[in-house]
């Protein structure tokens, strides 16, 4: 994985020192809150419902064991013994003290981490496929391109005050595991007819109050023009994005209002102009970055079979593991969704345990997924049983990946100052109602996503079943959506009708799954059946 050079480290260390001084000046009264607020937000420090919250960047979700151990230690030292992994492949701490934040950031910097650009109207943490560099189905490892974009976008002076926040995702396989088309810019690494690798650009996607699927605006951008084309996309947005209205300021609104064709024309015009400016980093820089992502030293003759005689292990191995490009290896996902648990939360001890397992069994690497789970990308199949046993003993062996229990839920009104309703209690009730192995097996792949407000941090638009919490005269109310997907077949869920109260929405999910089971053909997933039979049978069951 990428290692900081002296410039990276110096930039991060300098930023910590700068923020330490800003905190001192805030506490001694030289800065007002109005003056300080943008400064703390630029360093990832929010004010949430109960306290300051710090969001730490995990570039494209990749961590080593030293970094993961530090995240666990920070949870103990500065928070209340746990952290929350997010849908941006980041981690958040909910109980941070302002006066301790500089020391916390210094600890992060000591393991090449920071919280810069995890807030504000800038280019945020770049996300990617959690199986990057390991998946059997990928064209190339997308992370070097994500890293190049990260370096370009970090402290980019032109793009630190965009009309609104800006999110990239980079993938390199047909199976989209990063919700690529629901980003401001989604990049898919592809090969052209000449056999060259390049980038396919999708621009103007997003969730939030106006969900949109990004249209493809260019089939192929050569690797030696990747940054220049990205710059052109951002420049057009920066120039014409709606700064007059926060709710219309995302690039998706600009692309929609201009039309994809006109937006593309303007980007191409800007791109042609920029090509003469020499802003593209030399291809040697990309090659330098790629060296950091070389394959680990896989054993060429690692045994390629698994002993599945333990039924609990068999279930976990079948549900939570993904095919690896190297025979004898597998990628294993640790579900942070135990039945009745809080999606994405992990205790300090659990975080450190996962770090230790990664060091011992996964070439020192972990990934955070946008579904709020953790991945060991490179596990020898011969070690998998030992890994699972250790996880299971620590309450981390839940076998529910991509099933109804593997719920995305935003922090909701239990933690978030923007939320209108609680998300986590719903996730807990639903996982308790449907969390048995038998029920999950019966329902198969079913992606359920819950947001506590229209900002859609819980990706409710993209759930096979989505739930949106709203405030109805001071009372929590929940809308049900069906038919969303954030995979290669991206679609946006449709609202079924009037909302439900907290218990009613759990019953509504039950009714929807019963409609699916009564109508499914063969091996159809919930989503397939919904797409075939449409909304009407579900509405009939829900409201008649």
């Amino acid at each position: 994985m990428y290692k900081y050079d002296q410039y990276d480290q110096q930039m991060v260390d300098t930023r910590v020192a700068e923020f330490r001084d800003q905190v001192r000046r805030r506490i001694d009264g030289h800065l007002t809150e109005d003056q300080f607020r943008p400064l703390r937000l630029q360093n990832g420090l929010y004010l949430q419902l109960h306290a300051y919250m710090l969001r730490v960047a995990i570039p494209y979700g990749t961590l080593n064991s030293q970094q993961m151990t530090m995240l666990g230690d920070i949870a103990d030292k500065y928070d209340r013994g746990y952290g929350h992994f997010t849908t941006r492949q980041n981690i958040q701490y909910n109980w941070i003290k302002l006066e301790e934040t500089p020391d916390l950031l210094a600890d992060l910097a000591s393991v090449e981490m920071h919280a810069i650009q995890t807030s504000g109207n800038c280019i945020r943490n770049i996300s990617s496929d959690q199986f990057a560099g390991a998946a059997a189905d990928e064209l190339v490892d997308p992370r070097p391109y994500a890293e190049l974009l990260r370096q370009w976008s970090s402290f980019h002076p032109e793009f630190l005050t965009l009309p609104r926040k800006f999110k990239f995702a980079v993938i390199a396989s047909e199976t989209d595991r990063a919700a690529m088309k629901l980003h401001d810019i989604g990049i898919k690494m592809v090969r052209n007819a000449a056999g060259e690798v390049g980038a396919q650009f999708y621009v103007g996607g997003g969730m939030g109050r106006t969900p949109m699927i990004a249209p493809m605006i260019r089939e192929f951008v050569p690797l030696d023009q990747l940054i220049t084309y990205s710059e052109a996309c951002l420049r057009v947005y920066n120039r014409y994005g709606r700064r007059d209205n926060k709710y219309k300021a995302r690039i998706k609104i600009l692309v929609h209002e201009l039309g994809a064709q006109e937006y593309t024309r303007q980007v191409e015009e800007e791109f042609a102009h920029l090509l003469d400016q020499g802003i593209e980093p030399p291809i040697a820089e990309l090659e330098r970055i790629k060296e950091h992502f070389a394959d680990p030293a896989f054993e060429a003759d690692a045994p390629d079979d698994l002993d599945l005689s333990d039924p609990d292990f068999r279930l976990w191995a079948q549900r939570n593991c993904h095919a690896h490009k190297q025979p004898g290896y597998i990628s294993a996902t640790v579900s942070l969704k135990p039945v009745g648990g809080i999606p994405g939360d992990a205790s300090a001890d659990q975080i450190r345990l996962m770090a230790q397992l990664a060091k011992q069994y996964s070439f020192d690497e972990l990934r955070v997924t946008h579904v709020q789970n953790i991945v060991f990308p490179h596990v020898r199949k011969a070690d998998l049983y030992e890994v699972w046993k250790t996880l299971d003993d620590a309450g981390l062996g839940t076998a529910n990946l991509d099933t109804v229990g593997d719920i995305i839920a935003c922090p909701g009104l239990d933690y978030c100052s923007l939320a209108n309703a609680r998300s986590i209690p719903l996730a807990q009730k639903i996982s308790e109602r449907f969390g048995s192995a038998e029920k999950q097996s019966e329902l198969g792949e079913l992606k359920l996503k819950i947001s506590g407000c229209i900002n859609a941090c819980g990706h409710h638009h993209a759930g096979h079943i989505g739930i949106l919490g709203v405030d109805r005269k001071g009372v929590e109310n929940y809308q049900l959506l069906l038919g969303g997907s954030e995979g290669a077949d991206t679609s946006l869920g449709q609202i079924t009708g009037p909302g439900f109260d907290e218990d009613g929405i759990v019953d509504a999910v039950d009714k929807a799954t019963k409609v699916y089971l009564a109508n499914k053909h063969g091996e159809e997933r919930f989503l397939d059946t919904y797409r075939r039979i449409g909304m009407a049978p579900f509405k009939e069951a829900l409201y008649d």
């Binding site: 004010l47 300051y52 003290k97 809080i342 239990d414 609680r422």
Partner: protein, 98 residues
């Protein structure tokens, strides 16, 4: 009643104006009547609190109850982690917010 809430500058903790200082217990909150804005200006100026604002609430037999669920969750703590609330010994404390 009108009550004042905000956050402690150094810790970020939720606090309530009790008439003379800031308390972490909502039951200590005092009705500030029409004086809320003046108190906020004075207290924020002295950096004893930040992000302060006035909310509606009522006092009943159990104490002070903010009108909106968001403020009740702020007053208690996360309903999904009773151990992190101000009533860690009461597993049903979360019912108060609903």
């Amino acid at each position: 009643m009108k009550i004042l809430t905000g956050n402690d500058l150094k810790s970020g903790a939720v606090v309530w104006w009790d008439g003379s200082e800031w308390s972490k217990f909502v039951n200590s909150a005092e009705d500030v009547g029409d004086n809320g804005d003046a108190i906020i200006a004075r207290e924020e100026g002295a950096r004893r609190v930040f992000s302060a604002y006035i909310i509606d609430g009522e006092r009943d037999a159990d104490g002070v109850r903010p009108a909106h669920i968001k403020e009740r969750i702020r007053a208690l703590g996360p309903t999904v982690r009773p151990d992190l609330t101000l009533k860690p010994g009461d597993p049903d404390a979360g019912n108060w917010v609903i």
